[in-house]
């Protein structure tokens, strides 16, 4: 199956400029979409693609108002699947989910989507400006035999111009993927970076005394059970290429560590020493894993080479040392130790040297995870009898409380773009996997499992 991504310089027909083979990623294989850039009626200015419309790091950042109009049926065929509303609704939902957009309700629209044009010359941008839209998405679709062709266009309402447009050709059941792909385009065009539309979250579902691993797409769809071990299985950790999951399981009675190869379903033992075996953090190159091992009587931090299983011990403390997490470049490690009496965060280099403490507030600071952006570390701190999420920088500065829930937060994990956090929220005895923006706002609960915990956010799974 071939994925074609095309781009057109000027409006004179579709020219396929790039032709990339599917790299075998599940995401692409599943669809076989042929995507081609739709012809633009305005000359495309390549420099515009580098421009960042939205500075989401600005302290004054406010959600950007976007209107998504119902898509137009372009051909003769009937819209049996309700695609007109589907494309608009799903895209609107994804944009809301990013936390960067406010989607204007369609009741406010002055134009009738069924008849309005979808190209810039046909659009009365003044009408959209007057309802407060900064950006506008329009599109169309056509069912041809067993194919679905869709066009997506993003407009800058203030300038009255097209920002980006795409045409996708696929099977009718690829329509969600088309929406995901265009949502990614919008983010790239407006924010200047990739989104998380092709990521998953691995997590743990409690089943009586036991628990199993699950995965779910970032938007809460496609929930799947991926183990059926009928024992306690916890703490999944994605490898950097997204094809392996390391975890802890009591399959043989002891908390041993395993690696599950997601494509083949093969499971291998990583370590099965006496006492604890916890895989905590993959190195950026995917060749090593930071481990917590209890084999020498204390719980200390080791690094294991995944291929050779060769171990290097990094801490030699009689205290509890757990939850090591690599910095994005692999040069430093943040971890938890109770060597000073209570659990606090410490940083050491990748050889276990230059150990320094970075948290001094509170009495219980655990679960640090280094942001993929490198500038901050999220952790769980106990404040007023509640466990909340905090961030702190590697020097111990900028200690900031992110959450103020009437409940407890555990197991934070960053999205690969460092814009979101997934974590366990326990309220009234019920555990749910939840997502917030890295600023602590825009809470979203992943529903569908009664008791879900230990979430881990995957890397981007579709490289295209």
């Amino acid at each position: 199956m071939i994925l074609l991504v095309g781009r057109v310089e000027a409006g004179c027909g579709i020219v396929i400029k790039e032709n990339r083979r599917n790299k075998g990623r599940e995401f692409c294989r599943a669809l076989g979409i042929i995507a081609a850039l739709l012809l633009s009626f305005f000359a495309w200015n390549p420099a515009a693609s580098a421009k960042v419309y939205i500075d989401i790091d600005s302290p004054a950042f406010q959600k950007f108002p976007v209107a998504v109009q119902d898509f137009r049926a372009l051909g003769e065929g009937e819209d049996k699947e309700g695609s007109a509303a589907f494309f608009a609704d799903e895209l609107g939902k994804l944009l809301e989910m990013t936390g960067f957009f406010r989607v204007i309700p369609r009741e406010a629209f002055l134009e009738d989507g069924a008849t309005a044009g979808i190209t810039a010359p046909e659009i009365r941008f003044g009408d959209w400006l007057s309802i407060g839209a900064d950006f506008l998405v329009k599109g169309g679709f056509e069912y041809k035999d067993d194919e679905l062709v869709s066009e997506f266009r993003l407009f800058d309402v203030v300038r009255g111009s097209l920002i980006t447009g795409k045409r996708y050709i696929g099977r009718p059941d690829d329509r969600k993927t088309m929406v995901l792909k265009f949502a990614e385009e919008i983010l790239l065009a407006l924010v200047g970076e990739h989104g998380v539309f092709d990521t998953k979250i691995a997590f743990v579902v409690k089943k009586g005394d036991n628990s199993e691993l699950y995965t779910v797409s970032f938007d809460g769809t496609n929930m799947k059970e991926i183990t059926n071990y009928e024992t306690l299985t916890i703490l999944p950790r994605w490898s950097p290429e997204g094809e392996r999951l390391a975890f802890v399981s009591y399959l043989r009675g002891n908390p041993d560590s395993y690696i599950l190869h997601l494509n083949s379903g093969r499971r291998e033992v990583l370590t099965d020493f006496p006492a604890l075996n916890i895989p905590s953090s993959w190195s950026p190159d995917g060749k090593e894993i930071l481990m917590v091992l209890g084999k020498d009587g204390y719980n200390d931090i080791y690094v294991i080479e995944v291929e050779s299983k060769r171990l290097r011990r990094l801490t030699h403390s009689p205290s509890i040392d757990v939850s090591p997490s690599f910095s994005p470049d692999g040069s430093q490690i943040v971890f938890v130790s109770n060597r000073s009496g209570n659990p606090h965060l410490f940083i050491m280099d990748s050889k276990g040297r230059s150990v320094r403490r970075i948290t001094f507030e509170g009495t219980n600071n655990t679960s640090p995870r280094w942001s993929p952006r490198g500038n901050e570390i999220v952790y769980v701190g106990l404040v007023e009898k509640r466990f909340q999420l905090f961030t702190i920088d590697a020097k111990g500065g900028n200690n900031t409380q992110l959450t103020y829930f009437d409940g407890d937060c555990f197991d934070p994990s960053w999205s690969p773009d460092g814009r979101y956090l997934v974590f366990t929220l326990r309220r009234a005895g019920i555990e749910k996997v939840c997502i917030i923006n890295s600023t602590g706002v825009n809470l979203r609960i992943i529903e569908g499992a009664d008791s879900a915990k230990n979430p881990a956010w995957s890397p981007r799974l579709d490289s295209d």
């Binding site: 005394d209 628990s211 306690l232 916890i234 703490l235 802890v248 009675g253 002891n254 908390p255 006496p274 006492a275 604890l276 916890i278 905590s280 917590v292 209890g294 009587g297 719980n299 509890i320 757990v322 939850s323 938890v336 109770n338 209570n342 659990p343 219980n364 655990t366 679960s367 769980v380 106990l382 466990f387 407890d408 555990f410 197991d411 326990r426 009234a428 005895g429 915990k453 230990n454």
Partner: protein, 188 residues
């Protein structure tokens, strides 16, 4: 571990039947159980051995003794020792329990122990796994200091994964911060 205990339990019951069937073969009796085991405060529990018609008086006595020991072992598992939040040091009650268990284990050398360490729901999974390990190890070390052979004692941490009481309140947390002792017969 539940499964393991059940397995040991049924093995014990089967062994007793075999023993009775053999007509009181004294060579099976590896341990001289002369002293009376320490009285167990809890109810010495449940069935274990099915009603057996003593064909031989000695066999019946041995069977009864074993039944009693297994019941005592089981009773140790019904009682837990408890810990303070984020602590793994042993309090007075825990020491009293361990003194009792240690004495019993020294007398009954054909019983081993799996010590489970557990935590309350507060704190993260990884830290609690380590903490549970510490609690189990603290109990193990205490028993070793009393003279119990370390080889007979193993530890396993369940962290906060298997609470006894699922509620979120002080009472439940106190119950859940525990070490449990799975005392099982190794040979008969």
């Amino acid at each position: 571990m539940k499964r393991n205990w059940r397995f040991m339990w049924s093995m014990a019951v089967i062994s007793m039947f075999v023993l009775v069937a053999l007509g009181g073969c004294a060579c099976f009796q590896e341990t001289a159980v002369k002293e009376t085991p320490a009285p167990v405060a809890e109810k010495p529990t449940e069935p274990a051995a099915a009603p057996v018609k003593a064909t031989d008086e000695d066999a019946a006595k041995v069977a009864a003794m074993r039944e009693k020991l297994v019941a005592e072992a089981h009773a140790f598992g019904e009682r837990h020792i408890h810990f303070a939040f984020d602590r793994y040091d042993l309090n007075d009650d825990a020491r009293a329990y361990l003194n009792e268990l240690g004495g019993w284990l020294k007398k009954n050398k054909n019983f081993d122990v799996i010590i489970e360490g557990h935590c309350d729901e507060r704190g993260t999974a990884e830290y609690n796994l380590a903490l549970g390990e510490r609690r189990a190890t603290a109990a193990k070390n205490y028993l070793v200091n009393l003279g119990v052979d370390a080889k007979r004692l193993s530890t396993i941490s369940y962290g906060k994964e298997r609470p006894l009481d699922p509620r979120s309140c002080e009472e439940a947390w106190a119950k859940n911060r525990r070490a449990r002792f799975n005392v099982f017969p190794t040979t008969w």
